[in-house]
Structures are given as C-alpha cells and as structure tokens.
C-alpha cells in the first residue's frame, strides 16, 4: 500500500530532518511550560535534537562511503556522502550557535523558545537544500531557511538596528528569491521537468547555449550569488551582520553559507554541467570582484560585526575559485571547497564566540576597540582569538591554511595561474586587516572594566571551535579523505 508511492527507506533517509522538525515544534510548545529563569532548558532540548540528528547522520556515512547515492521520493531527494557531510557541518554549526545564544539572549532580554525553534527549522531547510535534487524541493528548502533567518535577524524587536537589518535582509532576500525562481521557471521550460538530472540531459541536447538557457543560468546564478553574498549581490551582508543579534550573525555567517554552497555545487554539477564553460566565465568574474571588494572594504571597518561581514565576503571569493577549477573537471576544486567550508565554519564560529563575550549588560561591545586590552584582562580568550584570526588569514599550522592551500593547488592544476597569484596577493591584504584586531587586543589598553560575559555554553563552543581549528590544521589527512569521499558522487 505505502510502497505504491514511496519506499520505506525514503523515510529513513529523511530521519535527521524529521527529528529536527519534531524537536523544533516541541521547543515551541515546551516553552509555555517554563518559568522565566528556566528558559535555558529550551536550549537543552534543542541541543538534544541536534545530537540525535548528528548521530543519525553519522550512521549514514559508513553506509554511503564508496556506494552510489541513494535517491528517494521519486528522485527528488538525494542522499550521498556530500549531502551527509554538509548536513553534519550544518548541525554542528547550529549546535555551537545554540551554545552561544543562551547567555547572550539573557543579556539581551529576549530569551524565548521561538528563537531555538526557528534555529532548528532553519537548519531543517538547509538540510533539505543540501539533499534536494528537484527544483520544487530546492525552492521550498531555500525559503524555509531564509524565512527563519529573516525573523531571527529581527529577533530583538525593540532594537532599531535589528529591525532595520531584518527589513533589508527580507526585501533583498525576497527579491533574490524572485530572480532565482525566474531562472527555475526557464530551466523547467528547457527541461520539461523539475528534476535536475533531466534538465541536465535536455541542456546537453541543445546545440549550443542559446539565449533562453543563458537567461535561465544568469537569473538562477544571480539568486544564488545573493544567498552566498557574492559581489555584486553582497550589499545586505554588512548591514545584516551589524544589525542582527550577534549569535545570529554567527549563524548566518556559517550555516547558510555551507548550505547555499552545497546547493550551488549541486545545481552547477548536476543540472548546469553542460553549460560549464559559460558559468566558469561568470564565476571567475564574480570571484575576482568578491575578493577585491571584501578584502579592501574590510580594511577600514571599525565595527567588528561589519568587519566580519566583509571578511565573509572575501572568503566567499576564495570559495568561488574552487568552482572555477571544478568547471575544468578538476575534482580537487570541489574537495577544496568542502574542506574550506568545514574549516571556515569552525574558525568563524570561534571568532564570533569571542565577540559575543564582549556583549555585557549596558555594553554593546561590537566595536573593534572594545576588544582592546583583551590580553591583559583575559589572556586565554585573547590567545584563542589570535588562533582564529590566524586561521582566518590562512597561516599554518591552523586549519585556514589547509583550506586556502587546496584552493591554490586546484587553481594551479587547472592552469589558472593569474587567479592563484591574485588570491595570494589578497591573502596578504587579509593578513593586514586581521592583524589590526590582534594589535588592538595585545597593544592597547582596555576601555572598561565590566567583567566579560562568559558561561558554560560559550566555553564549550570555544573549546570545540579551537580544537577543530587546530586539529584540521595539524592533522588534516582524515578530513581531506572525508572531503574527497564527499565529492566522489559528482564524478562517477
């Protein structure tokens, strides 16, 4: 009876997503039972849900290594090693954000259950985005992710900046969804189906790229470039980063980037592969513009959240370089992106964990000057921040170096020497602006004496982030193997 529609294994394949949805809804109702001082239990429940999802994903991994991808729900949902790894990063990043949020929300006076429910549901959207192989599934997943983010950005309702960031994010995000959707409608017109594999077949049958497929590709990519904050669709990034609650800035800078990049890779490889020469040209242009703007604009920033906004933009530029190499059929290009995303998630969340400690009662603490004198008042935190900043700048033996190294390697293997040189030049620029923060921490005097807002949640988050940043940097082999295994399904 049931098998007439879907196979039983289909439901097993979406178990992590189903679990997270159930926990998200449970948090929503559980919140009503809690007294004001017990609100941290919401976070605990959310963490349990994320833990279950992570364990389930971990169980999928050995089943899929070396195997063909599992295609469920009539070919609309693909579970492969790539999807599982991306989902694991998303779940871990969400868990770290939950840990960061507890103390922070208390200080902001907005410790509500909805916050955690929205985080979990946003993660569900991301997980479907990573696995979807049908335009309808991808669109709904993208919107689920985005709608939760808009609300979370404006979560501090009485804060003017938070509101303003939310409305900007929402308007530009909805506009980009419109663009993306228009591209999807044209792809459907070309392919006669919403399945990525069929669209790829039809695109390959067309004689040469005609105007229709050009327009379809450009509108689709414009929508995706917005989601990953690539120039010229990056304008929302600094404002949203500055205005959003800091824990949400940390979230938006990592998890949606991982999900959107996974989605981007799947669209490009699974559907638009016949047009790889065309999207390679576009990607080269956009990545150069993104690296240039991100790196140069970061130099002059004074607000640390805005600073990280531009720093994220520059990292997106590097990630796009991996796609340039991948368009030449280079496997290492995609491997580099996967490693970079893994590394980026931990180092960026680590850096934000330090920033979040600066937010204390009556003290916003989001200017670079607020970090001044950190070495004198909390040497441990200052050292951790130094590690994260070195990693973000790509200095060995931290994880950031491994990420950048593989990007450079893939560019050289495919003969894009000028891009590799440009990337190295910008890495030097990045070193300069990351060191501005180091100078503030180690050379300047502290502006205030208000104690830092540390807590068990932030400590655990910092521990995980620094452990992964150093582990991947010093002993990268297992992670490289994992990334290689993750991109294998695209080239078989």
């Amino acid at each position: 009876m049931w098998n007439a529609f879907f196979h039983r294994a289909d439901y097993l394949a979406i178990k992590p997503e189903v679990l997270l949805t159930m926990f998200g809804l449970a948090v929503l109702l559980f919140d009503f039972l809690l007294e004001k001082r017990d609100k941290y239990l919401n976070a605990v429940l959310a963490l349990i849900g994320l833990g279950f999802a992570a364990v389930q994903l971990g169980m999928f991994w050995p089943l899929l290594v070396g195997q063909l991808p599992y295609s469920g729900f009539g070919g609309t949902f693909t579970l492969d090693t790539f999807a599982v790894l991306a989902k694991l990063i998303i779940v871990l990043a969400t868990a770290i954000v939950v840990l960061l949020s507890m103390k922070y929300l208390e200080i902001e006076g907005a410790h509500l259950g909805e916050y955690y429910a929205l985080l979990l549901l946003s993660a569900v959207g991301m997980m479907f985005l990573v696995s979807g192989s049908d335009l309808i599934v991808l669109f709904i997943a993208l919107e689920l992710m985005a709608l939760c983010e808009y609300v979370l950005t404006g979560f501090l309702r009485v804060n003017r900046k938070s509101n303003e960031a939310a409305v900007k994010f929402f308007l530009l995000g909805a506009f980009s969804s419109g663009l993306l959707l228009y591209g999807m409608s044209l792809l459907y017109g070309i392919g006669g189906s919403t399945k990525l594999s069929i669209i790829a077949q039809r695109l390959a049958e067309r004689p040469s790229p005609d105007p229709l497929s050009w327009v379809a590709m450009i509108t689709l990519l414009a929508g995706i470039f917005f989601k990953i904050a690539a120039v010229p669709f990056h304008q929302w990034t600094p404002d949203v980063y500055e205005g959003a609650p800091t824990s949400i800035t940390a979230f938006i800078s990592v998890a949606p980037k991982v999900a959107s990049f996974a989605f981007f890779i799947r669209i490009l490889i699974a559907a638009l592969w016949p047009m790889r020469a065309e999207w390679q040209v576009l990607t080269i242009g956009v990545s150069i513009a993104t690296m240039t703007l991100g790196n140069l604009a970061a130099i002059t920033q004074t607000n640390i959240k805005r600073f990280f906004g531009y720093s994220t933009i520059s990292h997106v530029g590097y990630l796009l370089l991996g796609l340039v190499a991948a368009a030449d059929g280079n496997r290492e290009g995609l491997t580099a992106i996967v490693i970079y995303l893994l590394v980026y998630a931990f180092m960026n969340l680590g850096a934000f964990s330090v920033v979040i400690v600066m937010r204390r009662k009556d003290l916003i603490g989001d200017e670079i000057d607020d970090l001044a004198g950190l070495m004198a008042r909390a040497p441990g935190l200052a050292i951790l921040m130094l590690i994260f900043l070195l990693s973000l700048a790509g200095i060995p033996p931290t994880a950031g170096f491994i990420g950048k190294y593989f990007i450079f390697l893939s560019l050289i293997e495919t003969g894009h020497y000028y891009l590799a040189v440009l990337a190295v030049v910008y890495a030097v620029v990045a070193l300069y602006y990351y060191f501005r923060i180091v100078v503030a921490m180690f050379m300047k005097k502290a502006p205030d004496t208000v104690p830092l807002a540390t807590g068990p949640g932030v400590t655990v988050a910092l521990g995980v982030a620094v452990a992964m940043t150093l582990l991947i940097g010093i002993y990268p082999q297992p992670f490289i193997m994992m990334a290689r295994e993750a991109v294998r399904p695209f080239f078989s």
């Binding site: 007439a4 529609f5 809804l25 929503l28 009503f32």
Partner: protein
C-alpha cells in the same frame, strides 16, 4: 492577423471615443463648475468631516490579516488531496494529517502567545 483583430480594434476605438464624445457634448449643456470649499468636501450636504478620510487604523488588524493569510492559503493543499482522495487512500490521509498536525501546533502556539486576543 489583421482580419482577426480588426473588430477588436474598432470596438476599442469606439469604446474610448464614446465617453469622450459624451463628456464633450455635455459641456455645452451643464452649468460651469466653480469650486467652493463646501463643494469640494467629501459630503457636500452631510456632516462636516473632522479629519482626513485616509486615517490610520490600529495595527491589530494587520496581525489578524497575517494570520488569516497563512491559514487560508494552506488550504491550497487540501483541494488536490480531496480531489484525489480515493487514489491516495490511507497514504494520503496520513500525510495530510501530518501536515495538518504541524499547522495545529502553530495554531496552538499563536493562541497561547495571545496573538488572537484583542488587546
């Protein structure tokens, strides 16, 4: 092409010309219009209006409208299911109950949060 659309064009021209011609003709008959403050009021011979007609109204209407839109549009999924109820059978019923269950959790949430209260 021209033959097909010819009648439509003629119809459109006549439709546009007729009211214009009538208005122009009436100009010769009607008294000339001299506006006075009383004449430009919304109700010339009623109660004197006290403020602009496009006044603000309370934001609570928006909240109700938002909730209505959400729960109204979700029924778009119920129709195809209802039409194909026989073919989908138990599978369709269970899937639809899951869908409605999630909606009901949302409904309970907004009820408990007080979104339906008229404060």
């Amino acid at each position: 092409m021209l033959n097909q659309y010819g009648p439509i064009v003629i119809f459109a021209v006549i439709a546009a010309a007729f009211p214009v011609a009538l208005l122009w003709l009436a100009k010769f008959v009607r008294p000339s219009f001299k506006p006075t403050p009383e004449k430009v009021m919304p109700y010339e011979c009623g109660i004197t209006p006290e403020s602009d007609a496009r006044g603000r109204y309370t934001v609570r209407f928006y909240v109700i409208a938002i909730l209505f839109v959400i729960f109204d549009v979700e029924t778009v999924y119920l129709y195809p299911w209802a039409v194909q109820y026989q073919a989908l059978g138990l599978f369709g019923l269970v899937e639809m109950l899951v869908f409605l269950g999630i909606l009901i959790i949302g409904y309970i949430w907004l009820w408990k949060r007080g979104a339906l209260e008229w404060i």
